[in-house]
Symmetry: D2
Subunit: 484 residues, 4 copies
């Protein structure tokens, strides 16, 4: 296999910034240093060479009401690479009563078309002895993160006792718990009430999932994880209430991470008040966009480290699909795109404004999640031996985001019309140049499954602490004794 050199750029990792060339052989980084030579040369002059983005939160070809979310592993990973993301982590969603390993097989069947590497989170969508038995097998296959839905009552939702049981099992297995945190009971009842009162439009989606409901569930998941002794990762943190719960937990030494989405960092709930139904419905996702003051909270979380990862929850539905919910907002499929736009939007609003350093940008788009997931430094690093998942980032390159030019299969883009400055010149997936100076050269099926390690350092430290502080019986002298 031919070697490639990235020449003349500035390497930017979560840790460091320095000038160096990078030599790639057999899909891996072979050398980092000055004046390297290879068969092919990519000119990185004026550019930053960074670890490719990792999006830990996608739903590609997700089954929904007899159809599927519009981006599959091919178009989804093509969009990812176009925007500088070189790995996605999708959610396996077993059906009610379906063994976890069967669900996993269904996802393996779909992901064969991926153009970039990928991994999965397993979802615990029901509870029983078989799930308990399957969990170690799933971990053995390199899937160490298990998602729990506290919302979607009657479908994906699990109750507190199920969640507690699953969390404890995960703690034993050295895995990490994930939660979609909204109080599903309250959401279901608010939905019913809003429909009854004639609040049937997409704005009612936001009314039915207020920040309090997310904050509550986040707080509850944190307590249960603490009791279970398992690290917790809260997906799509959209509001101050949830962020506050995470901060408060971290202030007590708890091992909890939060993931804001690029959508919540840059868009707000005024979108739902748009007079065009389609416009509003296309923005329907859970949690919904929030009032603007929540954005400040999320940005500060990235700056201070109380929030760790920026993701997309990419789950693309066409306008046609969105219209399932024309008369009933509860039927609008939940989800928006974002895979192609995450990095440019975050650079533009985060780095160019001075809210984040370039190193922090790499941390929150790639390195932090690689560590949390247990695939660092194979992914998320610029380091000899690591996979050559790299982006050559041109901080001066601009474009206006528009659906007509995007890779995603859907007919709109929630960032339509936004100007971005900062775009990939090249995107490499295990050494293959999938994006070449604006040209998309992705290869269907190039992507491979990434198995991950359980028992991360944080997981082990937490177990040590929990063992040290476990309840101990009091020694008594004669039971029962006397006295008042």
């Amino acid at each position: 296999m031919a070697s490639t050199v990235i020449r003349g750029g500035t390497v930017v990792t979560h840790d460091l910034t320095y000038s160096a060339d990078i030599l790639i052989e057999n899909g891996r980084i072979a050398e980092i240093g000055p004046n390297l030579r290879g068969d092919e040369t990519l000119d990185a002059t004026g550019c930053l060479v960074m670890p490719g983005g990792i999006d830990p939160h996608t739903h590609l070809e997700m089954p929904f009401m007899g159809t599927y979310s519009a981006d599959d592993f091919e178009s989804g990973t093509r969009a990812a690479l176009a925007g500088g993301t070189t790995m996605v982590v999708d959610f396996v969603l077993p059906g009610q009563g379906q063994p976890l390993l069967d669900g996993l097989q269904m996802w393996h069947n779909k992901s064969g078309r991926a153009s970039c590497d990928y991994s999965y989170h397993m979802s615990v969508t029901w509870w029983g002895e078989q799930v308990w038995d399957d969990m170690p097998k799933v971990v053995e296959q390199g899937i160490t993160t298990f998602k729990h839905f506290m919302a979607y009552k009657g479908a994906l939702m699990v109750n507190d006792d199920e969640m507690f049981a699953s969390f404890r099992r995960l703690g034993e297995l050295g895995g990490t718990a994930l939660v979609h945190a909204e109080n599903g009971d309250v959401v279901a009842e608010l939905q019913r009430k809003l429909m009854e009162e004639g609040n049937r439009g997409p704005e009612a989606h936001a009314y039915s999932r207020p920040p309090q409901v997310e904050g509550e569930a986040t707080n509850r998941a944190i307590m249960i994880a603490d009791m279970a002794g398992v690290p917790l990762y809260v997906v799509h943190v959209s509001c101050e209430e949830a962020h506050e719960a995470i901060r408060r937990a971290r202030q007590q030494g708890k091992r909890v991470w939060g993931e804001p989405l690029i959508q919540h960092l840059t868009l707000d709930d005024s979108e739902y008040r748009h007079p065009d139904w389609d416009h509003a419905a296309r923005r329907v996702m859970s949690p919904p966009f929030r009032d603007r003051h929540h954005q400040d909270s999320l940005w500060a979380g990235l700056q201070s480290g109380s929030l760790s990862v920026v993701a997309t929850d990419h789950c693309a539905f066409t306008t046609q699909q969105k219209r399932f919910g024309l008369d009933d907002f509860t039927k609008i499929p939940n989800g928006t795109g974002g895979l192609e736009d995450r990095l440019p939007m975050l650079w533009t609003h985060g780095v160019a404004t001075g809210r984040l350093t370039p190193n922090e940008f790499v941390a929150v788009t790639s390195t932090n999640i690689a560590k949390i997931l247990g695939c660092y430094p194979r992914k998320g690093a610029v380091r000899v031996g690591a996979d050559a998942d790299l982006i050559v980032w041109d901080p001066e390159k601009t474009k206006t985001i528009t659906a007509s030019a995007q890779q995603s299969a859907i007919d709109y883009n929630v960032f339509e019309g936004h100007e971005v400055k900062g775009l990939p010149r090249f995107t490499l997936t295990r050494g293959y140049v999938a994006v070449h100076d604006g040209e998309i050269r992705t290869r269907e099926g190039h992507g491979e499954f990434v198995a991950r390690e359980a028992n991360t350092p944080v997981s082990r430290a937490l177990s040590t602490w929990k063992e040290l502080t476990a309840p101990r019986p009091v020694t008594r002298t004669g039971i029962p004794a006397s006295g008042v």
Copy 2:
């Protein structure tokens, strides 16, 4: 009926301190002023004349495993009066499927022996259409406060959707929601696990109900009450975690009150490490006593107003009854005494130390709860026309608390050996001098049921605000319209 004058004292209300005599006729305050005359005179020289205490949290003759808690309405109210408390509010506990009004009748059957006035909270121990239908009838009978247990899984516990439905119903009826806030799912599982691991003693009771579990449930109840638009009263707030949730809610303008118990204000979890099993088991209550730093939080809450009421959760079990749980802490009946000791203990540790003013003492032992419950100024006030539920308080009088001298039916006292300074010289219940200079003259059956008003000012203000900020549909121009 003969008139009585309290002579030469200093009147102390939640609001004011001033010298005056008080004339009592027909069980009510007839006049307040200088140099009053009546048939009987009580010498209040050197004393403070205050509204009698109201204990909003008792369980008298509470059914438990085929027996009853040891203090019934007679001995319980005798203990109350001995300590300066002139009204108790007990919890009606309907059985599973039992109509609320049937439950109420059972409580009326028991309370006939009460020596002081009393009222009830209704408990929502199950949910169904009949409960929904019964709720307004209960409110009409003057019972406006409804308790919900978030713990005691498989028995009293209600789920989030039931609680939300009940809270919304209460909001419509102008009532107030009460919660026992602990996550019952987690407690049940911790109990199972502790027993399995050989943690079978009373200390494991505390291990099974850590502060996090209380904090979580408090936070959840607050969110649900906010969504339902109903004021919330959190009983037995024992820890910083729950207090923090209440403070945070109040800081957002939510209408939430918290009730610490005198036990949690003055005792700590070292009691459970006592080598004598009886000693520890006698202190088993839910929530359990906490690590000492939680006490500072509770005291500061009383000082700042983030906590409003000091109660006892008086639910007395004899040592014999406690020993039901000799080999299994989950079988130890939950509850301690306190009715006789609440006021002297709070005065000693609160007023004599300077943590509370005498007026604040009256507020948190009497007036605040009268307002919250909707029986002010009939109760909780020194005011012409108000019930003459009064205490003549001698701030210099001292004693050492001991079970051998107490009114309660049980054989121990959790405050055994504590010195108190500040005790009632006289306690009057609707004008009758039930405690006369140390002599107990209570009359069985003297007490009457106190019907209370719904739609308190706070309840009405909250409804106005919720209506003003209710979700409104967005007006759309052609659905669906076009555009990206």
Copy 3:
């Protein structure tokens, strides 16, 4: 003197709501009850009878650059009465080196024209042995509250060591400390820098006094008061940062109160971006109006009790006076009006929306501050024997605020164009009907000085606690001893 009866109204105090007539004799409340008769009758049908407002923060005829603020004790108290306020508390401002008692005399000279009762706060504008010696004499004259300016460098500002000394002295005297909390060093430097950079307009006034600067000083004053053992009252709390500091202190049991102004509750900093210089300059006050999200914080503070009093900081300057600062924002005299509008604006935005109950309205406009200042229940109460400072409030009466119809001497009104609902039908000052169904009948010179009591219950409780927890020497065995 003829007696007056207020007939047919609903009495609303901070504590209670009930139907009663009120009989007034000799300027005091003589009787409260049904069917009272007197020489004159005021029809209160459909109205609420409340304690008159107390505005604890005014600057009438305040010396400024060789002239005076435009409202003097006559026009200022006339505006007050017109809006339902029956007592004002003004700030004595001794000059540098001027004895406190001399300053006091200057204020007595001005206040003779007042139409309603008044009191003073003393300001500690410099420090020295004479101030130390004068403080008890001032307290003896019934002035128990001492203001300290942490801003206005080179003029009124005192340093930390001076403030600490003064606070300790006050603690000994049983008084209460007041602060204007902004970091004067930082403000002065920001002013210099902004002017230098060409930011010379009224908007730069706001830039020079950001919320952080207020929050910092508030936090500092709280610490110093805690070390000194004196209760603290923070005037004009305008932002979340200052409110947070107060909340945090109260959560620790500290005795601190906060006073938001009606302006900060209802207006925001967009006023300074108005293209008309006059419009912006007329809104120049310190602290400046804030970004809208601070308002939510202040309202929630009133609801939860973390903020206690709504005032105005009434300090009226004409447009002509404001133009002193045409080329230099630092020369624009600081201050706005508000005396006439405080109650109607607060009722409209607070009670009519459901944010506050009517009782809470009374508390924050009158009763709370009467207690804090030590003149309750002479003022702030509806109670036999209290001064008949009363308002008959018509909650249905409306008007549009406009300068052309106001009592204040200035030519504009910062609330111009605001609709209010809820206005006084009658305002009585010690029984005299100064406002009669819209007609202003104030009497110049009717007002009297109100001497106040030191050693309030809170002050005494705090002293007890501080004595109890004072540092004690460790007993040592031979000094120095041995060992490592």
Copy 4:
């Protein structure tokens, strides 16, 4: 120069854990990988190979009352190396009116004897045009961090306006501000008062510097740094109050770091109640040791990232020197040792308990501060090209800390009797093996000055943000215009 190989160990950085040998040539890391060979081999079997510790807070040979702190650059760095610390950063303390560069020269004169590398912070102990002019020259010499004392009134303390001026200057120069945060005015007055009251012993040192006083100053420094647009590093954060201020700032996106000391993490204020005067006096440092609950806060800060660096504030005085303050605690020289014990104590109480991962241990003892100071990755990294400042850490090695076996020149140790588990087998300073399996082989004068870079990524990002959000004048249409 002979090459050295560290063989058979596990490399642990702030980022990663992996097995590798390390080849060292010419004082730098030449290669990292399997099976390396060199002239000398150090056996790291069973050991962790980590970046040497960096202690950013020492006072070696510090002038004090005509004498000096007992550890000079020779004994101090010897103690450092013995405990695994390979770089210290000392504070240049110019005299009043002394040019900064003169002060710097004085420190250079002393540091020539250092056995390991070192750098300096400059202290701004007075303010004037010369200081302003000297600051860029100091930065050019690689000293980019400037310390400001908010305490030590009459000596080192600077006022708010001086601090603000200095911070603004630093912001322009791309430096970082450091503060010793205690309110010096209040401390001075408390000292005076305590002495007057007869509180003259070392316990009064703690009484005179309560947590509130540290929290206040921390909060103030943060505000001033925010106004000045400069990153802030708070040294010796000892209490929840200061930590809370830092957390709150970080939650708002401010660039603030906090440094707890190993002493405050592991010792508490009960030390001052020891009956032996010497025992107590030897623990006198500022801030003093705190009540135990502060420790939990500090540990959680390290876990969550709200605190970044563990230091010592090593400033060793002999018992003889401590006795200067026999009758007057204010004369006891402030300072304790710790250089030799920091890493073993932190490993024992942090890593072995599970509170910290080994990677987090490296971060808080070395890498984080190297980044903050601008000398990463030359220091704080295991990376080809980096200085070979390395420790071979044996996690199973134990000892009992005792003064009799320590390197420090003083006659006691504040950790006397503490068992530690986890000690260096080898310590290398730029490749030289200064500690060899327990044997101390330090070379006086081996240490070199480390110049550091200004304009770190955080500094640049902050400047970008401050420029973006700087105040802008409002455009006005005719000044003054009309209207109300």
